[in-house]
């Protein structure tokens, strides 16, 4: 296996006005690894993901995919890189003007130039992988429950057999059973593909289920990173506080006391 990380962030900084969101963030994920980044709301998890995807541009630092610096990649280069990635959004972000199968097949048709018939066949196969029947293929996303939408989103993320998959809060808004279904699907689908995954979450149960490694983000930088199995025994005060949900500890919330 190559020593070059699949995804690497080097001293990445991002601020909105005076508010610093990412503060010299360093992170690396090896090929085939599943890393879950945990952290409270507003710690910069989503911003980190958007910087990697090129939706936001960091002020400084480097973002590397397969050892290649993509921080300032042009649109064409970025589109090439994104062809080997998949992304499941927090609320699925399905295109409501398209049917379920068109959503799943979107990347195959638009980015990979596949014809609609073949793309539809693959879309139906991918829908089956996430436990959805072909009868749903012609429906629109508005007709689906949020759990189903997430599964369609997952099918879309894995449709082109990507090398890297990003998950943004995959279990948010789901009941515990559906959350578990999604976690199992993520684990199974990514293991089958051998994909490298980066998940952001604040759901500890979900994180432990799908992660090889976990990193805790606080105030825009990683304060702890280690194996998922070590999270309860590492003794790190930040991790202890976050895992147990304590108000007191090194993690300070920006809330005014009454």
């Amino acid at each position: 296996m190559s020593d070059v990380p699949k995804i690497e962030l080097r001293n990445v900084c991002k601020a909105f006005g005076k508010k610093v969101i990412l503060d010299n963030l360093n992170l690396s994920i090896m090929a085939g690894e599943s890393l879950v980044v945990i952290g409270g709301s507003g710690t910069g998890k989503s911003v980190m993901l958007k910087c990697i995807l090129g939706l936001l541009k960091p002020e400084s630092g480097q973002i590397l995919i397969d050892g290649e610096d993509i921080t300032n990649a042009n649109t064409h280069k970025r589109e090439q890189i994104l062809r080997k990635t998949g992304m499941l959004f927090q609320y699925a972000a399905l295109f409501d003007s398209l049917t379920v199968w068109e959503n799943v097949a979107f990347g195959l048709i638009q980015a990979h130039g596949m014809n609609r018939k073949d793309a539809k066949d693959i879309a139906i196969q991918k829908l089956a992988l996430v436990g959805l029947g072909p009868d749903l293929a012609e429906k629109h996303s508005a007709e689906l429950s949020i759990g189903m939408q997430k599964r369609v989103g997952l099918a879309r993320a894995i449709a082109a057999d990507p090398e890297i998959i990003f998950f943004d809060e995959p279990t948010t808004g789901l009941d515990p059973i559906m959350g578990d279904v999604i976690d199992n699907l993520i684990r199974d689908c990514t293991q089958d593909l051998g994909a490298t995954t980066l998940t952001i979450s604040h759901d500890m149960e979900s994180a432990q289920k799908i992660a090889d490694r976990i990193a805790l983000l606080y105030k825009g930088s990683v304060v702890w990173a280690g194996l998922a199995s070590e999270i309860h025994t590492c003794g790190d005060p930040y991790v202890e506080q976050f895992v147990h949900g304590d108000v007191d500890g090194p993690i300070k919330l920006d809330i005014l006391k009454p």
């Binding site: 994104l82 062809r83 972000a93 295109f95 409501d96 979107f106 879309r156």
Partner: protein
């Protein structure tokens, strides 16, 4: 006091110029993506149907009643100095050069501009535009270019249909209500009508179609927040389209008269 007043004027001027700059960059970016392949012909066809075909009833009704009212009002005015024979000529020139393109532009701004801003705005706030990017699809090419081209191309056709319906409305009122001889009225309609009268109206229509779709796309693309942000984007799209149509109408008229 005077200092504060000047500072306020300065701030307003700067923010206005910043908005003009943002729109100019958005326009340049959009135009580039209209020209450079790939082209989404299926989407272009859909937009041409939405903007053109489905707007026919609105434009037709507007043109019909404008033509009818115009015939009545001009008759009232011209009969004061025994120039009733000018009614047909003024109706046709007024409609083709000015009223059909401007009123159609305003109606399309209300119907299409608002819909574009709402649709793209909703896509923005529900991360569907981000999803497009992650699926290696350029949102300017996929969302903006088909709408701009459709607006540019279909509005002249709509206005041409509006011209015919409007003149027919004037003819109906003139012959059925005001007692004009049908054959004389038609003769007067076409005797002084020149090709450039019609063409100048169609050129205006094309520019107005571009303005309406551009403003819809721009405000939708830059909408922030949730439902309120989308509502604001929709209002801004319609208001800015109205203002820009009326301002550009004057300059186009000056240009086309010469």
């Amino acid at each position: 006091m005077e200092h504060n007043f000047l500072a306020t004027i300065g701030r307003v001027f700067l923010s206005f110029m910043a908005a003009v700059g943002r729109i100019a960059i958005f326009t340049a970016h959009s135009l580039r993506h209209c020209i450079v392949p790939p082209y989404y012909l299926r989407l272009l066809g859909k937009q041409m149907m939405d903007i053109g075909y489905y707007s026919l009833p609105v434009v037709g009704m507007t043109a019909l009643f404008t033509g009818m009212v115009l015939a009545l009002q001009i008759y009232v005015g011209s009969s004061r100095f025994n120039a009733e024979s000018a009614v047909a000529t003024i109706v046709v020139i007024g409609l083709t050069r000015e009223l059909a393109p401007v009123l159609s532009g305003l109606m399309i701004a209300g119907r299409v501009g608002a819909a574009i801003a709402a649709e793209i705005g909703t896509m923005r706030v529900t991360e569907q535009i981000d999803a497009l990017v992650t699926l290696s699809t350029n949102p300017f090419k996929y969302l903006v270019a088909p709408r701009l081209i459709a607006g540019l191309v279909t509005l002249p056709f709509l206005v041409l249909v509006g011209d015919i319906i409007g003149v027919s409305g004037g003819f109906l009122v003139a012959t059925e209500k005001l007692g004009f001889n049908a054959s004389n009225y038609l003769n007067n309609t076409f005797e002084f009508l020149e090709i450039r009268d019609v063409v100048s109206g169609l050129i205006k229509a094309s520019v107005f179609g571009f303005i309406v779709t551009l403003m819809g796309c721009y405000h939708g693309f830059n909408s922030t927040g949730g439902a309120q942000g989308v509502g604001k984007a929709t209002t801004n799209a319609v208001v800015s389209s109205f203002v820009m149509i009326l301002i550009s109408d004057y300059f186009l008229t000056v240009l086309l008269i010469d």
